[in-house]
């Protein structure tokens, strides 16, 4: 239950971290909150020869609105998101998710960007980032690139992060006034991995029609998945119970879970649909749409 030995390096800035990553290539892993990485190392599922600790890099701790985006630095902990007063009134999807991640003590260490880089199929942030159309800011000695979350998420525990590259930030477009969202999750107990989860974000135009929808499901496939068919069904139409049911069916169809002690394939697929239905209903109700419940 102890991690394999590793070489520990401290980074006091993003540049120091990138220099360390450049020097060690595939051998190095970034240590941020460590709430997924350290258990993985303890179970010897991960044995990185070098850990680059970015906790001393205070420049990576930020949570701000700038240039049309909500920007979350790699050092920012879940706790900062959940306690920021401006989040709950406007960022409904993120606010919902921020209090459902792991447990309150884990959230005092765990980071948003770290969770995205870990990309656990049952993690919360990947589905939220898909529905919220987030982008990752990736930096290396070669420069900086901004990658849409769809291209960042590759497979279970796998992202498009390259050797020597570090995710320094995740960006969510600032939602407009007629945008809402919701995050729904089934877990056996607080802190357990999700049995199934759904993240949605929807916007309405002046006529009350859906102008942009993000729908994603988590824990029911090799990674969080965007439900493209549901998004297409919703876009341009007025919200209704029937439309929501159709979108939920698309999610159920796409879900490709593995059976385990949290549930059978049939159960998890059904729950993916149920959670998408609940999340969409909740988001539209938050936008003042009637007749859905």
């Amino acid at each position: 239950m102890f991690p394999a030995p590793f070489d520990y390096q401290r980074a006091h800035s993003a540049q120091e971290a990138i220099d360390a990553l450049a020097a060690h290539g595939a051998d190095a892993r970034v240590l941020a909150g460590g709430q997924s990485l350290i258990p993985a190392m303890r179970y010897r599922l991960a044995r990185p020869p070098v850990l680059v600790d970015i906790n001393p890099a205070s420049e990576l701790v930020y949570f701000r609105e700038a240039d049309g985006s909500l920007q979350i630095g790699a050092g920012t902990r879940d706790f900062a998101v959940e306690t920021a007063p401006f989040v709950a009134p406007r960022y409904h999807l993120i606010a919902d998710a921020s209090v459902l991640i792991a447990d309150p003590v884990v959230r005092q260490m765990g980071t948003v960007v770290g969770s995205l880089c870990h990309n656990d199929p049952a993690g919360d942030w990947p589905a939220v980032a898909l529905a919220g159309r987030a982008s990752m800011v990736l930096r290396s000695s070669a420069g900086t690139r901004v990658v849409p979350i769809d291209e960042f998420i590759v497979d279970s525990y796998t992202t498009s992060l390259r050797d020597g590259e570090m995710a320094v930030e995740v960006r969510f477009p600032i939602p407009g006034a007629r945008t809402s969202g919701s995050y729904q999750k089934i877990e056996r107990k607080v802190g357990d991995f999700a049995t199934a989860s759904a993240a949605v974000q929807v916007s309405l135009d002046a006529a009350g029609k859906i102008a942009g929808a993000g729908v994603a499901i988590g824990a029911v496939g090799p990674s969080a998945m965007r439900v493209v068919e549901a998004e297409k069904l919703l876009d341009g139409n007025a919200p209704s119970k029937e439309l929501i049911a159709d979108a939920a069916r698309a999610a159920e169809k796409l879900a490709d879970p593995s059976p385990d002690n949290r549930g059978s394939v049939e159960y998890k697929k059904a729950m993916a649909g149920v959670l998408v239905r609940r999340a969409l209903t909740n988001a539209f109700v938050r936008l003042g749409v009637g007749g859905l419940t």
């Binding site: 350290i38 850990l51 003590v105 884990v106 607080v190």
Partner: protein
């Protein structure tokens, strides 16, 4: 690697392997066995300590080298001048423990909660403690104890300031 960690006001300078977990550093290198190890996998909360006064951390899921230069408060550091901290007294008064194994973690998570939120509702207490498992009490008396401590501390402004430092 040489590290210097202030635990309960005392500076501990030790040479540790980077893979040494904070919980084991506290127990084995500092001799402070009040911090318990339960699940050893960040689920149960028995090992919670306060870092820099304002953050509750599961010390089984953090490396000791990460605490270098920081201040850690463990259950041994709660007492004040030989008297129980109001949280400890409240756990005693309200029977907030039976076997006591989870108690250090419950106390430290509650300590940080009251620093952030001196007058939590019952729901807020239950949520804050949801990462701390207790197999004996059914939680009722733990919640009552935290409520008692919150009332006691709010009547004692200096102590609230200390809890929130």
């Amino acid at each position: 690697m040489k590290i210097s960690v202030t635990v309960n006001g005392t500076v501990y300078e030790r040479d540790v392997e980077p893979r040494t977990l904070l919980a084991y550093f506290l127990r084995e290198d500092c001799g402070l066995t009040g911090t318990h190890v339960g699940c050893d996998s960040s689920s149960c909360g028995c090992c919670v300590v306060a870092m820099d006064g304002n953050r509750a951390v599961k010390s089984c899921t953090m490396f000791a080298v990460q605490a270098d230069g920081h201040e850690i408060l463990t259950v041994e550091g709660l007492e004040r001048g030989g008297a129980l901290h109001p949280l400890q007294q409240a756990f005693w008064d309200q029977h907030g423990l039976q076997c006591g194994y989870c108690t250090p973690g419950m106390l430290m998570t509650s300590y940080v909660l009251l620093g952030h939120n001196p007058a939590p509702t019952e729901l807020e207490i239950r949520e804050a403690l949801s990462g701390n498992l207790c197999r004996c009490t059914g939680y009722q008396n733990i919640v009552k104890a935290v409520q008692q401590a919150a009332e006691h501390l709010s009547a004692e402004p200096a102590a609230v300031a200390a809890a929130g430092e």
